[in-house]
């Protein structure tokens, strides 16, 4: 089976890479593009540690073939900050100690960004159900939810 050429936009930059047909988008990001921020926690779409945003849609990159990325716009954790200026979500996660080991954090941050893009003023329950696909075993979620809602408030403020 010969490799397949894929070109896509990752974090705003045009990229090209070769994939075996069976390679997932997560494998391509990590092994072909050296973007190791997205993590594999389960490989079956049950933990969310591999969450990225494809054409504005939050998805598990382990449940998407790399070949399907042809021509698509992909956002990963490595593109969330603006240069060395952290995104409000990244800053609030640090301020609220919303991470301990940090393994789930990239996935949680991408999911939170997708949430705030769609819903700038989510309730606690809306945040919890939106993030239900991002497992965290260290924090018990409390500080993650507070950090997301605090960031949402700051971002609404900034828009005024």
């Amino acid at each position: 089976m010969s490799k397949r050429h894929v070109s896509a936009i990752v974090n705003g930059d045009p990229v090209e890479f070769l994939t075996d047909p069976g390679m997932t988008l997560l494998d391509a990001l990590r092994d072909e593009l050296d973007l190791t921020g997205s993590k594999e926690g389960c490989g079956s779409g049950d933990c969310g540690a591999c969450s990225v945003i494809v054409d504005g849609r939050l998805v598990c990159s382990c449940l998407m073939l790399a070949a399907e990325a042809e021509g698509r716009r992909i956002e990963t954790i490595e593109g969330l900050a603006h240069g060395s200026e952290l995104h409000p979500l990244q800053q609030k996660f640090l301020e609220h100690a919303a991470l301990q080991c940090g393994f789930c954090t990239p996935g949680v941050l991408m999911a939170s960004k997708a949430l705030l893009d769609a819903n700038p003023d989510p309730s606690e329950s809306e945040v919890r159900y939106w993030l239900a696909g991002n497992l965290c075993r260290c924090t018990g979620y409390d500080k993650i939810i507070r950090a997301v809602m605090d960031a949402a408030a700051d971002m609404r403020q900034a828009r005024v």
């Binding site: 047909p21 969450s51 598990c60 449940l63 399907e68 999911a111 239900a132 696909g133």
Partner: protein
Amino acid sequence: MPQFDYLAPSTAEEAARALAITGARALAGGTDLLVQLRAGRIAPAAIVDLKRVPGATGIREESGGFVIGAATSGATIGEHAALVRAWPGVVEAASLIGSTQVQGRATLAGNLCNASPAADSVPALIAARAICVIVGPAGRREATAETIATGPGKTSLAPGEFVLEIRLPKRPARASDAYLRLIPRTEMDIAVVGAGVNLVLDGAGVITDAHVALGAVAPTARLVPEAGAALVGHKLDAAALDRLDAAARAACQPISDKRGTIEYRTKIAGVLARRAAVIAYQRAGGRV
């Protein structure tokens, strides 16, 4: 990771030809297919991505009903205001499939053709009397949702056939539907039991048409005619609900597995059928 060809046809006919290759599998959202692929449960010779086939994605209103591209993601379905108003049950069933991330990919066709007895969208599609437009080497045909799955992981599709669209019929006034499921957590689980109810009421709140479908209580999701019949001609009073509960339980042929026991699933089928009926009845303007 097994090796196979990845094909992304741009016409329905091309897709049908590709799918006719022995060992070819259709890919829409991939949230079931890739899990089975990585677990080595399937080793397809080719994967045929349907998302670039015209009509496979997108939602349009047609002669009062809705036509949903079978490869449309659950997230897109959940955001379609008119569809949500007309078919809240079908939409909530589609939106319960997996996490937000899975919603970004999972599709009605995938959920239907993966043929899991516990598929979330299928009981609602069956209760809605949804029609599947199937394309294959021999052309197009239509089939009701309940005829697609024939057993766990098995479908009635012939080689080369795939579901292109799903049609939901025109809604009369005072009609609505609902879908409920029982899971141990609040998200992320496979349904232990699922129940879809679709009702039409007359001006006085009497049920004139009723369809009830159950998931995870038999080898496939199934329409339960007796349950619907138990409601037609009545208001949604206690007696009607009791009859519905009994009919739902009678239709159960569940298994005991890591998610639930036979006894439990049977009881819960009655509970969810009743609750879904109440929600559908109220959405249709009835007062309980």
